[in-house]
């Protein structure tokens, strides 16, 4: 008898759980899972501007789009640019976040919450709006940045007009915009380190530097791996900065994979080709995520 009651209750709870889940799961299925699978199929077809009007002209092409991607010089440029942004901009961002977190969290720091708030402000701003602002800061003749550098005798630099400097300029904007976010995560990680660990090290005669190497770095390692992972996933999706500031130029020096995908898919309506590009991006992110997971697992041991 009592087991039957429990069984009935258990079933009721399962039904209730699914009712609570239904709206969100339906939305995720319809607006996320179905589109991802459709994109995979789409990437194997020649879906283009004609197909927008008449679906029956779509043909199955196998991996033709992927072959074409690898034969397109612009893809290799975009891939190189995206890697540049991820592999230079990512570590710089994380380093800036960690450095600031250590400074704000230091016992010697004053007005901690004020500084924390100030550093976080760029994070909540609209990327498009601040990209517009930075476009003017980078102006070779009237930009604030060149004015500042001129005080130190630096000749004017054409930040966004020089193919060699445009991507570093975008990276500087990205570091400024994003470092506050990861800084908060690092501060939370630092505050989780028990004080007695440092106390014990001090008794053992370890100086500040030794404590940093032996305690702070290892205990912060899982946080760092997590932060690096979300930064890399985000940075692979570079789009608004080049869209607003450089339109991918000069000489394609800031064309990213997502910008190329947007242009191919939504300007020229080569949607099959663009879908394949999106999957190349996905595979790249997947690869980095797996590497991250392996590192995480090793750290936990």
């Amino acid at each position: 008898m009592s087991s039957r009651v429990r069984k009935v209750r258990h079933d009721n709870h399962t039904a209730a759980a699914w009712l609570f889940l239904a709206p969100a799961m339906t939305a995720i299925a319809v607006f996320f899972i179905v589109p991802v699978l459709s994109a995979l199929i789409m990437s194997l077809t020649d879906f283009d501007v004609y197909a927008l009007g008449d679906l029956s002209v779509v043909r199955f092409m196998g991996f033709h789009n992927y072959v074409r991607i690898f034969e397109t010089p612009l893809f290799w440029t975009a891939l190189k640019n995206t890697f540049y942004f991820v592999l230079v901009g990512g570590p710089l961002s994380v380093a800036a976040s960690l450095g600031t977190a250590l400074m704000v969290n230091s016992k010697l720091a004053r007005f901690k919450s004020f500084f924390r708030t100030v550093y976080f402000l760029p994070v909540v701003t609209s990327l498009v709006a601040v990209a517009v602002v930075w476009r003017y800061l980078y102006h070779p003749a009237h930009g604030l940045l060149n004015l500042f550098l001129s005080w130190f005798g630096v000749a004017p630099i054409d930040w966004l007009g020089n193919p060699a400097i445009a991507m570093p300029a975008i990276i500087v904007l990205a570091v400024w915009k994003n470092f506050g976010y990861n800084m908060l995560i690092f501060i939370a990680g630092l505050q989780n380190i028990p004080d007695d660990l440092y106390e014990a090290a001090r008794i053992d005669g370890a100086g500040a530097w030794r404590q940093f190497i032996d305690i702070t770095i290892p205990t912060l390692a899982p946080t760092t791996v997590f932060v690096v992972m979300i930064t890399i996933i985000g940075y692979f999706q570079l789009f608004a900065e080049p869209y607003v500031m450089t339109e991918g130029g000069p000489m394609n020096a800031t064309t990213s994979i997502v910008l190329m995908m947007y242009e191919q898919g939504f300007r020229w309506w080569n949607m099959g080709f663009a879908a394949a590009l999106a999957f190349v991006l996905f595979v790249l992110i997947l690869f980095f995520s797996i590497v991250q997971m392996l590192i995480q697992r090793r750290l936990q041991r």
Binding site: F20, V34, V118, T125, A129, V132, W176, I185, I233, A278
Partner: protein, 273 residues
Amino acid sequence: MNNRASTLALNAGLFLLAVITLTPVAWMVSASFMLPGEASTTPIHFFPMHPTLEHYEALTERLHVGRYFMNSFIIASVVTLISTFINSMAGFAFAKYRFPGRNKLFRFLLSGMIVPAQVTMLPLFLMLKSMGLVNTYVGVILPGLASIFGIFLIRQFAGSVPDSLIEAARLDGASEFRVYRSVVLPLCRPILYTLALFTFMGTWNDFMWPLIVMTDNANYTLPVAIANLKGEHLLDLELMMAGSVITVLPVLILFLAFQRHYIRGIMVGGVKE
């Protein structure tokens, strides 16, 4: 270095960094009040000589910024209301019910977080097109409703609601929905504010998706309108700065007013050992 010198050096560093961080924002605000062309005259000066509101007037009177503002506001508000509701229910279900496949489903959702949104955009656009939803609020809103991150955030928090309270409500004859409404939601209020704030700001600042869906100028959200304005008014530096101020200011105020909630969200979501 003695303690006093390090304290001074550290705080000077913090101050300098704060100046660097604030300069672009401060300059944006300052230049938006300058006369046309003033911000690009040499020698460069930081503050407006004759502060003017003419760019804000031009934006609201000629360039329909009021309409873009409303578009952004309506879209962000609707997404926030609906998504906070449905994600909180899902997060509650994951936290407080045992049902077959729960952990598998949750892990499956989490793994979905590494799929970049761009993968979904092309089919989503076609789907909306076939439903006649391109260039509508609904088209921008629908894909933003369910959020795996939101479900995760609520689940983390709802886990700390004591089972005894839930059981007590059930013994009093409360329905499962009533348990959620009257016991769980009130206790989860802090994280609900957090999630609502995240969602509102994220939707307000979102660029790529509204750029794709809104094909008609009148339906642009603020970021899309600013990016578009840049095409015609690139040389009107002061006007562009005023447009940027209008785009940035609402979320900046929201953040400053509710930063406690915002920061908690990052801590809960970020530190998950």
